[in-house]
Subunit: 285 residues, 6 copies
């Protein structure tokens, strides 16, 4: 009569599941309360109440096997150790031939996940939706922060491997750095060109990282640095179609900071994006 | 020097009025506070401060006779009795040759209103704007809930009488049920085809029920189940034009849950939708 | 590395546990969102972050065996069936010789729990902390609502069995009804006389039901009907001392409506009351 | 079946009523939205849901005749004209031998009401509860503002007529001005000495003006200038007992700014203070 | 190691600066707290954290000289004196050959600024973005309010000088008044025709006043009178391009009421609009 | 006519001032938005609007010389470097014979300030008000966090030098550690014994660090980890009296997290505590 809440509506086990959902409640802060570390819990609460059927994709989660392994326990205040812990967890999932889907947390959590994916899939490409460039080399003396996650991925991925969309904020240096040698292939402001990727990346391994602040703050106010001029929910639906035509080996959604949106809309949006991305991936597995 | 607040700007009496505004503060809950039962009061507060002139329609409420009869007193906790009470009130208004315009409350309140209208107007068609299908037969063992209001109307209206717009959430069964035998004519995601209705429904009686969550949560966060991917306010303005070309015999707006939007924008939107819908109807009466 | 959140800090199993924590996310409403049904989830989230040690009681939860069985799945909209479902679950726990501790939900959920306890413990007394009398016989035509939960318990417990504290709101009839024949022993406004109960109820079985709105709205604003003039947190600490001297066979805390307190303080208070009450009970088991 | 909401639970008419409730939704601002002008509407909404019986006073509003005449329509932006309009309305009520009870609005609205009372009752004394002195002569070049309402009343009442309680903020000059010649009899921080007033003011006419920010911000955060160190709700209950022993000829409660307290507690407190003050007055009329 | 926050990222002095930023924290209210008077402080707080580079304009504030002179000290409660004070300050800046950029405050603050500009630049044109007409002659007996700021400018500018965009609320009289003799050139609902102004106003002096409520409440809820149907952030970007082709002699943004948007998005939008408008102006100076 | 906001009401310079106010906007997080780093700005905004006169102390800030040097610029994400930077700034102030008064920020910022004070004043004692022990040695593998600030001070201060008040949360080990050898002199739950300190610490140097969460969450909800059962504002006033009898060489207030209290009360409380503490210190200098 009682039940613990699960993100997967079916009674799938870890072994049977193709896709594993895991929360990474990290926001790099030593204090207990604010921020994106509450993201995974809030997304779960909302996801549980959501329909399993997507009218947009005409797919139903009840037809697929996913498993929610809960949230990571992370050492507070020691960022390098946090990164290691996430990396080990992601590596384990990928070695087990799972498609991991991580719920952030701040954007930095994507770095060890992408690194773990790259070590298995040498042909890895990254699709990155974000309002911010995230390509600083050093940020306030720091090489590991939410502001240089993409730069750290470039360190091992190299040029021509990172597709950025929706970017509308950063320093001048960052924007010019991307242009040089195709460090990243950046599309400013919207998702233009996204629909060409299934052709370009055919037979490649792809990791998708979505900083939810790529959405306009009108529909996603619950994030740390809201940036006007973002894409609408209807625009991001193109991503779900594109993902359905790619070989996705990992994905994440990050930067929901639920306490900043007392209406709960941001969390509802995150949960819906999660469902659509999950369906886009698992239908091919 | 003092005055009680009225939704009609002129001193129209019940007898002189063509249109009657009434609140149905029901959300089916035994506890006092949360939810849509606060909708009518909040809409009135906001409506009172709104201009009476619509630049979009170039019409002014000061030119028409409407009367606000206040809110219904409803027995808490006994849903069937609530439905009966609403039904009797709506029947009385319709027998008095009024066009009733109800302010919800949850969507279930539309059911007895549409039933009362159907008993007078055998040629009744329903235009239904909503994010959700609302066509479950049984919902958690229940035949009378906000999740099956449209199904209950179909019970007596039959096929081909219900036009649904903006639908973007529901179970797979509900979506397929609508398709079968034109149980309902459903337009997913937007208002496509709405402008064709004046031709199709010429000389018919029409009831319009607007679940305000058809609007995108970016502009209408103050509702129980916000669902991303909705229509904008500019898109819903097409409804006002279409209504002006139809024979509207009743209407309602439901599902404003004002406490969930501390900015007050959702209530302001509801009040403006009310003004535009009222003008679209009364200009023909 | 990942873990599902548990309310018990140790890895106790159901079989080993003396006390079972269970959520009853019911607020009697047909619509998804508002109200006390979100209470259990929010209390869990907060409880997880709380210290296990109580400086006030000098006791630590790590020393005791408790088990969290999660939340009940309840049929929406059919109150009698909900009551039955809760009753069956509570009866099962009590038959298994567990001390159940329920997290509401609205106050009505206490009724089937107390009834289940009474059927095993014929000498059952109830200690009831609340801002409201809750002793109406009929409330808006309804015999089963949050406004008559205590009256329904009196139906089977009879006179002299219910101790009420902190009461400061109700109809005149309710207050006078309590006085007659000691229907209930009511203390208005505060906890005066509570410390005498260990003597009076020595060797009796006791169920404690705490409507958290007994606390002053200054410290507990997140509830459906806040009522000024309540007790402080330091005053309610007397309850924890008294409970430690009684034979408690069941308990609950109800009426947290977390969305009404965006600061999160109400939820933090509920979690702390839960810890102190748990410790007061389990130290004797 | 429908009804307009009334603050009086019985169907009393203006003519039959001893006490008249009227809202003065003024906060001196040219813009539509923020502030205390929303006070009367919010208090009404809450009052309507409140029990009519007071356990503290053991009195029930159903036994008395009060009438709610609604809110005043006030010219925006022209403070002197607003003051005149309030004055005329208050004078009319007092000439009709009513006891007026006004709901603010900002504190300045009390000035014309007290003036109108003084013109009928030459022996008028004022009891003033507030966090702030409100006795500046000129405030930013202004003689008529919420910061000098009490000074303006002193202009016509003179020394020894104004009893102030709970004062804990103001300029040094104001505090010293009060001391001089008993301009006002000021009690700082609490209600000490209030219980002596029934003896002192026997056979006198008394007007009671309560700036609700006299309450501690913990229980009344919804006000313009919250000032820590205020009185609790239980402390203000002494006022209700004292009022029951005085000849009250008018009263008001002011400075609820409901939008600043999203929990709704401040409004609930204001409604309860209103009920207790009403009962304290009408039981003698 | 410590520093006072400045809106200009470089250490420009007043004398070196082309553009001067100044706050006008006026909302015409006698009470301390609510409203647009908090606009300047909140915009500064947010602006400080914003990138100095605009990807949309490909310009960086680090390349230009601007100076922030802080906020005006204004006499509370005496509107004519406030207007004079603003007028004198604006005149001084303009005489010093600065381009002033004011941060409101309510819209009325634009009137003395535009007047000061007109006295130096006889060929002054005004571009006015707003949801509201603001062209009432008398508003509740008042000639100087946020509702007639544009009418007061017309008094001295005359016909054909004021371009209005985005207007979607006002009285019928106001809309018809604009039409007559081109009192103002009004574009309802959107920015249609804005791109033609560089041709029309070549060699003219232009003042741009942006009531931020021209934006849709979905992206800008934090304002006094939110009005659905506004323009998106991407639409307002056209203004920045157009301004870059005009001779701007002064500008302002008004009507941010930050407390009404607890998510902080409205303030973030205001700060970004400020940056883009600043860059559009200073690149030509 | 324009002015930058200052925390000192007089035009005191750094050289003339006895007391220096400085903000330390650090909350140890790599992301921009949430938390206590917004504390200093919010306190300043509120302080600016506060009366300079304290009725409780009968002292006026206008009579004393204080200087506000603004907020520190801190390197994000590198905690050891942040600590060094604060330490250097505090040392400079103390060497200049100033009494520094710091505005946090999280509690960790007190550590380098107390260390700097200890290096000048070998007889330093610390008075510590807090809800939490803060005496962990290692917290999640970390020796420098808000949870071990007091333990790090003990490292150099040694036994018998730290007086703790109001403590009501921590691990069992921490509470027992304090007892041992008088590591700290801890008073649980309230300020009992505080009034004895002027005798005990006569002729000693004293640093006062106030974690504002020592206050009950009813009056101070805007903090990271609200803990019920705290002291009231009237209780903390005893601290101001005691401080007036001690030789205070430095002080701070920390842990205001303003975004968690949308009513603004927490910030108003912090500003008032700041004024009273400032007056208690400067009256002796």
């Amino acid at each position: 009569m009682f039940s613990m809440q699960r993100i997967n509506p079916k009674d799938t086990s870890y072994d049977d599941a193709k896709m594993i959902i895991g929360g990474i409640p990290f926001d790099g802060t030593v204090c207990y309360r604010p921020g994106t570390r509450f993201g995974p819990k809030h997304i779960r609460n909302e996801f549980y109440a959501l329909e399993t059927y997507s009218p947009f994709l005409d797919l139903d989660l009840m037809d697929y096997d996913v498993f929610d392994i809960g949230d990571m326990d992370l050492p507070i205040g020691d960022t390098p150790l946090v990164i290691d812990t996430i990396y080990n967890a992601a590596s384990k999932l990928i070695k087990d031939n799972k498609v991991p889907f991580f719920l952030g947390g701040e954007h930095l959590v994507s770095f060890p996940c992408i690194k773990a994916a790259f070590e298995k899939y040498a042909d890895l490409y990254v699709i990155h939706l974000d309002a911010h460039t995230d390509t600083r080399d050093i940020y306030f003396g720091n090489k590991l922060s939410h502001a240089n996650i993409i730069r750290r991925c470039w360190d091992f991925l190299g040029d021509n491997r990172i597709y950025q969309f929706g970017i509308r904020s950063g320093s001048r240096d960052e924007f010019y750095w991307s242009l040089k040698d195709n460090h990243t292939i950046m599309r400013k402001f919207d998702l233009g060109g996204l629909s060409l990727l299934p052709d370009k990346l055919k037979d490649k391994s792809v990791y998708v990282t979505v900083d939810l602040d790529v959405l306009d703050p009108s529909i996603f106010p619950g994030t740390g640095t809201p940036e006007a001029g973002g894409i609408t929910y209807k625009e991001i639906e193109e991503l779900f179609l594109v993902m359905g035509k790619l070989n996705i080996v990992g994905a994440d959604i990050v930067e929901l900071s639920p306490d900043y949106d007392t209406s709960g809309v941001s969390t509802a949006v995150a949960a819906k994006v999660l469902r659509e991305m999950m369906l886009s991936i698992v239908k091919n597995k």
